[in-house]
């Protein structure tokens, strides 16, 4: 009956009852195409409460379903062990059950009561009822007075994903390193036990919840500001992006993770937000104001900058696309800028009224031909990035047709020659995206340290000297 106030459960229950009890199969035919519980869920996606736990994860994809696996198939932790036969396992289970049964006393419930006469004087009525004294103090009141204000853990809603308080549910144990802790505590992972099918976002919430209990002084922001990364058992992070917050945790069979504060990588998080979410206070503040012109001093510490730099480097070779405007004298064309560890692609996005103009073709540049990227113009609402590229004389003949030299003739108007061998594109976009592109490509250039990049730098220095 506890489930009756959950509309999702009720709908599922009614539907399943109809389908399972109707022997003619008519109900199933009628209801097959209309999964009302699912429709209901989709309708109120925002209200998490409406979803009955466990019912919503009825995915057809059995690969990800932990329970889909037969219980007879057991994988040993180390491959060196031999699989035990099913019989041996069954015998062991029976043995455990027998041991349990021997400790348990069973009583048969019969309809008739026996030995009635023996119990004639068994029940003794209490004649005087003593009420509790009026002015007494209960232990609860006393304890509440002693601890009047209890700081509320803002992650308390995630406490329910803790697997230690449940029985009969598949749970997973793992250890997590908390990157926001001071240096001396950071190397000790926090052991956790969670319900297996919890979403990554909820796991992050639970980690924050446990963190606040263990380290009450820690300042933590919203759960969405943190990312969960796969880690080695010594706390070293794998060079992989953070786990998708919408994924179920059951998929990941790793024993160690690291919780790290995310870079603000979307326009929804304002820059100031993530700055003020400064984390550990090891007293190493200040003096960092010079590292960025618009960065607030005293809110960043060295560790954070280091972490950010490291992430930039890790994430730099991953393919990402940005929607930017490519400047072409007086016109602006919307293009999709794709940046990966190998190449940079500029794909024009088809416009409705573009018949008048010659269509721009998609171009792609090998990352080794990118010379430099800089912030050319910066206004309050937008920034202009200038990306220099070139091609070494000796390799020009080896280039494939779709690469730089062949495509350069496509729209020669917007290519200006400033340095002898280098040409550039101007991309216009908002500030945050510009910063992201800038740091990503700069990281790539730093990693590759191509000939063209070096050549550009030396040539630029020469020009400066001449001036």
């Amino acid at each position: 009956m506890a489930t009756y106030n959950n509309p999702h459960w009720l709908l599922s229950h009614i539907r399943n009852s109809f389908i399972s009890t109707d022997e003619t199969g008519m109900c199933e035919n009628v209801m097959m195409n209309q999964d009302l519980p699912k429709h209901f869920l989709q309708k109120c996606e925002q209200l998490e409460l409406n979803c009955y736990p466990g019912l919503d994860e009825q995915s057809d994809d059995e690969d990800f379903d932990l329970t889909a696996q037969s219980f007879d198939i057991m994988f040993p932790e180390h491959n060196s062990y031999r699989f035990r036969s099913n019989t041996a396992q069954r015998l062991e289970k029976m043995d455990i059950a027998r041991k349990k049964a021997s400790r348990m006393k069973s009583i048969k419930v019969c309809s008739e009561s026996s030995n009635d006469n023996d119990y004639k004087n068994f029940f003794v009525a209490k004649t005087e009822l003593v009420p509790p004294p009026d002015n007494m103090k209960s232990l609860l009141t006393d304890q509440l007075i002693k601890t009047p204000v209890q700081p509320k853990n803002k992650f308390a809603q995630y406490a329910k994903y803790d697997g230690t308080s449940h029985t009969g549910i598949v749970t997973k144990k793992f250890k997590v390193f908390i990157n926001m802790l001071p240096d001396d505590k950071r190397s000790y992972p926090l052991p956790l036990c969670v319900i297996a099918d919890t979403k990554i976002l909820d796991i992050i919430g639970l980690i924050c919840y446990k963190c606040l209990i263990q380290f009450p002084g820690l300042v933590l922001g919203d759960v969405r500001n943190y990312g969960l990364y796969i880690a080695e058992d010594n706390g070293e992070m794998e060079a992989l992006p953070p786990l998708d917050v919408r994924e179920s945790f059951a998929k990941f069979k790793f024993s160690h993770f690291t919780l790290v504060e995310r870079r603000s990588n979307s326009t929804t998080t304002s820059r100031n937000d993530y700055r003020t979410m400064s984390i550990t206070s090891d007293g190493d503040y200040g003096g960092e104001g010079a590292s960025g012109t618009e960065r607030k001093p005293n809110t960043l510490n060295k560790n954070e900058i280091e972490i950010q730099k490291m992430f930039d480097r890790i994430e730099a070779p991953l393919y990402r696309t940005y929607r930017v405007y490519c400047r072409n004298f007086f016109f602006r064309n919307e293009v999709q800028l794709g940046v990966s560890g190998e190449r940079i692609e500029i794909d024009p996005i088809p416009q409705k009224n573009s018949k008048l103009w010659k269509k721009q073709k998609a171009v792609s540049y090998n990352i080794d031909h990118i010379a430099f990227i800089e912030l050319h113009e910066e206004r309050t609402s937008k920034s202009v990035l200038r990306m220099w590229y070139g091609y070494p004389q000796q390799t020009q003949t080896q280039l494939t047709p779709n690469e730089a030299p062949a495509t350069m003739s496509v729209s020669p108007q917007h290519l200006h020659s400033y340095f002898n061998n280098f040409k550039y594109y101007d991309f216009e976009t908002d500030k945050i995206t510009a910063q992201q592109i800038l740091s990503k490509i700069n990281c790539l250039l730093e990693i590759r340290s191509s000939f063209i990049h070096k050549e550009f730098l030396t040539e630029r220095d020469k020009k400066k000297e001449k001036k």
Binding site: A2, N5, N6, L49, K105, V109, F123, P132, S138, T141
Partner: protein, 264 residues
């Protein structure tokens, strides 16, 4: 020792090592809805959907009494005199059964409603029952002159406590207040003996309130609700003092043990 009942089972556990039951009752056909012990713990009563209240001797583990009320039982409550048992049935009847001489009284406040819960005040003066129409019925329990029952129920008052479906009724340990909880997400505190509403505890968007328990000094109240949270209220100020989270599903019952530490 802790006892648990539920879907077609009744088990007793050792409270220190709760993983395996130490006593299992076999052959139960229907759900057991309520169980309890007298103060001295010598016997146990259970009531369930098999329409029967059974009394078990805790020493020999034998069933020593049973009472059939011909309707599934929603709730069973022991009178503080330790001999009478109040029973709430789905047919709308409330029974008061004397375990000792096996006599009983049958009261039907509303034939078309299922009585969800029944409670007797610790001072033994009142009996209250709530039904699925949200109504709360109060009886005076006076000492009876004939020997049939020790206390004689006399209808006192009917209150429309909730709009619909009441789930629980309980008296405070000092017998001065009564709480009713309902599916409308409220817990209401009533003053005894006038049975007038004193306070209404409600949290915005709260779900069904299944159970409630007073602290021993009747100053605080715990509530258990469908959103998986247990709340501790300072009910006089209607403020939530603590919130206990951790359950993934609805909390449908709770129990609280308090101690007297000093008398002012």
């Amino acid at each position: 020792m802790i006892a648990a009942c539920g879907y077609q089972c009744l088990r007793l556990y050792d409270i220190v090592n709760c993983t395996n039951p130490i006593i299992n009752y076999e052959g139960i056909q229907k759900n057991i809805t309520r169980l309890g012990f007298p103060e001295d713990g010598t016997w146990m009563f259970t009531g369930g959907e098999d329409c029967k209240v059974r009394i078990w001797d805790m020493l020999s583990q034998q069933q020593i009494r049973s009472f059939d009320c011909n309707s599934p039982i929603n709730s069973v409550c022991l009178h503080p005199n330790q001999v009478e048992i109040a029973i709430a049935s789905q047919s709308g009847g409330v029974f008061l059964w004397n375990v000792n001489n096996k006599e009983h009284e049958h009261l039907v406040p509303d034939q078309n409603a299922s009585v969800q819960d029944v409670a007797i005040s610790p001072d033994g003066k009142f009996m209250a029952a709530v039904n699925n129409r949200g109504r709360c019925y109060i009886w005076d329990l006076k000492c009876s002159s004939d020997q049939k029952l020790i206390s004689e129920p006399k209808a006192k008052k009917m209150i429309a406590a909730h709009v619909r479906y009441a789930l629980r009724v309980k008296f405070s340990p000092n017998s001065k207040f009564m709480v009713t909880t309902s599916f409308d997400g409220t817990a209401k505190i009533w003053e005894v003996p006038k049975f007038e509403l004193v306070k209404e505890l409600k949290k915005p968007n709260s779900q069904w309130v299944w159970d409630a328990a007073f602290s021993l000094d009747s100053k605080y109240l715990f509530t258990a609700s469908s959103d998986g949270l247990c709340r501790l209220w300072n009910w006089k100020s209607q403020s939530i003092v603590r919130e206990y989270s951790g359950h993934t599903k609805a909390i449908t019952a709770l129990s609280f043990r308090d101690e007297i530490i000093c008398e002012n």
